[in-house]
Structures are given as structure tokens and as C-alpha cells.
């Protein structure tokens, strides 16, 4: 008891090192907070206000310019070539693409490694070694610049610039999450499965009702991380599905746009804030889960 008290006391002891670190981290936090606060403040500025007031809070003489957000919802659009015609994809169209790209994509790239890891961990086929080896080799071998070849391959297969083509691209088991699932499946005893088999459950039923519930936490965390990654990604859709712009792609285009009502900085910043909100909501809801998940194991050969 006394020992614990001493430890607690020692843990609270301050040191100059802690002081310096705390100061630096406070400065860092302040910068991040200022950047976001400036963004929110700018998004609410009237165009006339922003002309002369680039830094301060919105001038109440002009009022809060909520219309910036209205205009973004109304006018935010990306022009794409589709079916030999130019089409405008509006905010809702881009949101739809984002959900298809991030939602379905995250689901695919969370399920596939999960299933493959499951059969690798829980069956004794010799091919398992090959699969495991493939994962390790692909992680260890840094291949650079295969995108042109991948583009050509997609074009040859006739699935370039299609959403399902992108889903097929994501239908792989490579990467760290395979190892995470593999470790999780290896860690629980086979007795659960045996019991299910004895009760007459088939392989699929065992998978769905016994195995998956056991890794649901890991699965949901990976799903969430993938969803956020894909939601934020604009370079992949820009390259592989140019006719299906996501909101992030739209924002990239908007950043370079110089015509129309959205060419003014407060409105561009308002678009940034709109894209930020759903992710911040997810983050606030699942903060602990997301933050705890951020680890990286060493790759040992």
C-alpha cells in the first residue's frame, strides 16, 4: 500500500524535461486550434468583411455569413466526362460517390483480410503458408511507381473509371490488418469451433455466428479507420475513378477553382468545414477506440 502511494507520488513529481515538453505541446495544440478556429471564423465572414479582415473574428456589422454554407451546398459541383457528355456532379452526387467509395470500399477492405486471415489461422491447409508468405513479402518489399501499370491493367480489363473496378482493386488481403486479424484468430482456442461443428453448424454458420462475433471489436475498428482513410483520400479517386468524384476530390477541384460564386476564400473554407464535420463527429463518438488503435508493430524478418 505504502509502495503504491510512493509510486503515485513519484509519478507526479515534476521535472524540467516535462515542463519543456508540456510547453512545446501546448504551442502545437494552440497552432492546431488556431488553424481550425481561423477556418471556422473565415467560413462565417461576409465577402466584404473578409476583404479587410483576414485574421479577426467576423465583423458583426455584416453579420455571420451562413449563406457561405448555403452557397456551398447549392453550387459545389465537379464537372466530369461521362458517357461522352460533360456532367455536373453536385454536392449530393459527390456525397453519394463518397459513400460508395468510402463506405463500400471500407467494408470490402475490412472483410477480405478478415476472412482470409480466418481460414489461414483456423485451417491446416499447406497453402496457408503461401498466403502468409505473400502478405509478409508484400509488406517487406517496397515497390514504387506501379500506378501506370495498374492504370493500364484496369483499362485493359475494362474496369477503369468504374466504381466496381475500384472495389475490385480493394478486394485484397495484403497489409497489416491481415496480421492483426491473424493474431486475433490464432489467439482464441479451437474449442469454440469444435463445439459449433459438433452442434452441426456448417463452416459458414460457424464463421458468422461464432468466429466473427469474437473479432467484432477489431473488425469495427478497422472498418472505421478504413472509412476515415477513404473518406479523406482524394488522390486515388482522382486517378482511378475520375468520373466519380468524391467530396474530397470536389474539394481539391474547388481549391483550384477560379470562377463563380465559390471562388472566394470564405466559401472555399466553408467547403473545408463541411467536409470536416462528419469526420469530427465520428471522431468524437469513437475517440477512444480510434486513438487506441494507432499502433505499429515492427516488421521482423
Amino acid at each position: 500500500m505504502k509502495k503504491n502511494q510512493t509510486i503515485r507520488k513519484l509519478k507526479k513529481t515534476s521535472s524540467p524535461m516535462y515542463g519543456i515538453i508540456c510547453t512545446v505541446l501546448l504551442v502545437y495544440s494552440l497552432m492546431m486550434a488556431l488553424l481550425l478556429a481561423w477556418g471556422i471564423s473565415t467560413s462565417l465572414k461576409h465577402l466584404l468583411d473578409f476583404r479587410t479582415n483576414k485574421v479577426g473574428l467576423p465583423n458583426m456589422e455584416f453579420g455571420l455569413a451562413w449563406e457561405n454554407f448555403e452557397i456551398v451546398f447549392e453550387k459545389f459541383e465537379t464537372i466530369v466526362m461521362s458517357g461522352g457528355r460533360q456532367q455536373y456532379v453536385n454536392f449530393w452526387g459527390m456525397l453519394n460517390n463518397t459513400l460508395l467509395y468510402a463506405g463500400v470500399g471500407a467494408l470490402i477492405s475490412s472483410i477480405v483480410p478478415c476472412l482470409v486471415a480466418y481460414v489461414c489461422a483456423k485451417t491446416d491447409f499447406k497453402f496457408n503458408g503461401v498466403i502468409y508468405g505473400i502478405v509478409i513479402v508484400s509488406m517487406v518489399l517496397p515497390i514504387v511507381g506501379s500506378a501506370p501499370s495498374e492504370m493500364k491493367m484496369l483499362k485493359d480489363l475494362g474496369i477503369y473509371n468504374t466504381m466496381y473496378g475500384n472495389w475490385i482493386q480493394k478486394f485484397h488481403f495484403l497489409g497489416m490488418y491481415f496480421l492483426v486479424y491473424y493474431a486475433a484468430f490464432k489467439s482464441f482456442p479451437n474449442t469454440y469451433l469444435d463445439a459449433a461443428y459438433i452442434d452441426g453448424a456448417g463452416e459458414w454458420r460457424t464463421l458468422l455466428h461464432v468466429t466473427l462475433p469474437l473479432v467484432r471489436n477489431t473488425f469495427l475498428t478497422i472498418l472505421l479507420i478504413r472509412f476515415i482513410d477513404y473518406w479523406n483520400d482524394y488522390q486515388t479517386p482522382l486517378l482511378y475513378i475520375p468520373s466519380h468524384p468524391t467530396l474530397a476530390v470536389g474539394l481539391f477541384n474547388l481549391g483550384n477553382s477560379t470562377v463563380g460564386e465559390l471562388s472566394w476564400v470564405p466559401r472555399k473554407v466553408a467547403a473545408c468545414i463541411i467536409l470536416l464535420l462528419p469526420i469530427m463527429t465520428l471522431f468524437i463518438t469513437f475517440r477512444d477506440k480510434l486513438m487506441g488503435s494507432l499502433t505499429m508493430g515492427g516488421i521482423k524478418g
Partner: protein
């Protein structure tokens, strides 16, 4: 009355298992064969090909793409500069990583405000790079000059347009966004270290700095070495958010190899694919041995091994 299903024979069960196994692995393996093996083999083949715009077909053309790479590297400083920028950034990120471990230690030890720091540090990880980049761009170009002018009365240029500050501003942005993620990873790794070790050290009167240096730092060595190893490939792929800031028109003085490649692919016609594929093959040939070498040394140096 309870119906008891007939337990399948061993052979039948094995067959059923195989069917189940194949139904799960077949498609992913096929995908792997096409999109990993196929793509990479094709990448190598493309490196030795040219594109005929009239027929729309690729044909073998010897070393023409590699000769062009040699020509491009020899003709002007752009590619060398991009290589230098990439290596410089790698060096800076390694230095920063070492510094970050200090901060991670602080957070892992749950010192004052560490909960808040964790949340703040996580924000750039979940916020889209393009959102952060645009906010940063408008801040540095619109707000920063106005701020400086109001404080000092001096007129300054935006940080991303001034040739003297643009590289520094981009590095700063990368640090601003990357620092938090790294810190979180290190602090999570440090949190996983058995408490009793740290407590024993505390009772022995070890200072926080020594605790960090002799316990936490060695224990998270695998995480650090992973960053170092992954970073090597990053030399050839990292874009330093240049595309987010400038689209395809970044000033050549700030190019990185990753940016050069992505910009090339984004704007390229089919005829440019072989050249870009050759660049990819060349970069891979350089990066693989270096990666393995560094891994070898780091594994040897690993105090947790």
C-alpha cells in the same frame, strides 16, 4: 424432439472444409495474381516498351525509357533537385521522429494535459489532407501576411509563394500533420510497456530522462525501426502534400520524386506510361536493397531482440 444432425465423416468434413476454404481464398488470390503479380510484371515489361498512338498498342523498344531517364537526369536540375528534396525530407523526418519520442513519453506517462494533447495530435490523422492543406494554404497566404503587417507594419509575402520560405512552409505543414500521428503511435507503444518496469525504476530514483532513455526508448525500438524502414520507400513516394497545395503546377524547386511521379501519372497520356513505369522500376531497384540493408542493421541493433 431434438434433431441431431449426422456428424460428417472425416473425409467428407475435409472436403467441406476445402470447399469453404476455396470459396474464401479463390477470389482474393485471383485479385492478388492480377493486381499485384500481374501489375508488377506488367510494370517491368512496360519499362521496356513504347506506345504507338496510331495503333494504340505497346511495343518493345529496348532501353529507350531508361535512356530518357538518363537524359532527363542529365538535362536539368529538376529531377536531381526532386531527389535532394526527398532525401532532405527523409532526414528531417528521422530527426523529428527522435524528437517526437520525447513527447510520446510525456503523453504515455499521462502527465498534465496529456489527454488533450492526444486528442489534438490525432486531429490531422483523421482530417483529410486536402482539407488541412487548403486551410493551411489560405491561412499562410491570406491571414499570415495580414497578421505580420498588423503586428510589425512590415509587408510580407505568403509563405507558400515566397521562394525563400516555400520549402520551409511545406516542411512545417508536414510536421504539423505528421507529428501527432507519430507521437500517438509511439505513446501507444510506450503505454504497452509493463508498468512494473517503470515503477521499479521510479523506486530506484531514476530520473524521467533516464527512464525514457534506458527503458521506453529501447522498448519501442521496433516501432522506430519500422518508421525508418517504411520511410526509405517514402523517399520515392512522398509528395509532401505538394499536389494538395499546387495541383500540377508546383514550382520545380520544391518538387519531390513522389510528386513528380504522381503528377506524371495524373496528367499523362498512354504514351508516357512506359517512361513512368521505367522510373518506378528504377526506383524500386534502388529502394529494395537499401531497405533490406537498413533492416538488417536495425535488426542487429534492436535491443529488444
Amino acid at each position: 424432439m431434438r434433431i441431431v444432425k449426422k456428424i460428417p465423416t472425416k473425409k467428407r468434413a475435409r472436403r467441406q472444409k476445402l470447399g469453404f476454404y476455396l470459396s474464401i481464398v479463390t477470389l482474393p488470390i485471383l485479385q492478388y495474381c492480377i493486381f499485384y503479380i500481374g501489375v508488377n510484371i506488367n510494370s517491368i515489361l512496360m519499362a521496356f516498351q513504347s506506345y504507338d498512338a496510331m495503333t494504340g498498342e505497346f511495343y518493345f523498344d529496348g532501353l529507350v525509357n531508361f535512356k530518357r531517364i538518363a537524359y532527363e537526369f542529365g538535362k536539368n536540375d529538376q529531377l536531381w533537385n526532386a531527389l535532394l528534396n526527398s532525401v532532405k525530407y527523409y532526414g528531417i523526418s528521422i530527426l523529428l521522429m527522435i524528437a517526437t519520442t520525447f513527447f510520446a513519453f510525456y503523453v504515455a506517462k499521462k502527465r498534465r494535459f496529456s489527454g488533450m494533447f492526444r486528442v489534438v495530435a490525432f486531429i490531422p490523422h483523421i482530417v483529410s489532407n486536402i482539407t488541412m492543406a487548403l486551410l493551411f494554404k489560405y491561412f499562410t497566404e491570406d491571414a499570415y501576411p495580414a497578421l505580420v503587417e498588423s503586428l510589425t507594419g512590415k509587408e510580407v509575402w505568403g509563405l507558400l509563394v515566397d521562394p525563400d520560405t516555400v520549402y520551409g512552409a511545406i516542411i512545417f505543414f508536414c510536421i504539423l500533420c505528421g507529428f501527432g500521428t507519430q507521437m500517438m503511435m509511439f505513446s501507444n507503444a510506450m503505454s504497452a510497456i509493463d508498468n512494473s518496469i517503470s515503477e521499479a525504476a521510479l523506486l530506484d530514483g531514476v530520473t524521467p530522462f533516464k527512464e525514457f532513455l534506458y527503458i521506453d526508448l529501447p522498448m519501442i525500438f521496433p516501432t522506430i525501426s519500422t518508421f525508418v524502414i517504411v520511410g526509405i520507400a517514402g523517399i520515392f513516394t512522398n509528395q509532401m502534400s505538394l499536389f494538395s497545395f499546387f495541383g500540377v503546377s508546383a514550382d520545380p524547386s520544391v518538387w519531390t520524386l513522389g510528386y513528380y511521379l504522381y503528377k506524371g501519372i495524373k496528367g499523362a497520356a498512354m504514351s508516357e506510361y512506359p517512361y513512368l513505369a521505367a522510373l518506378g522500376v528504377l526506383f524500386t531497384l534502388v529502394v529494395v536493397p537499401i531497405t533490406f540493408l537498413v533492416r538488417h542493421f536495425l535488426n542487429k541493433a534492436d535491443p529488444t531482440a
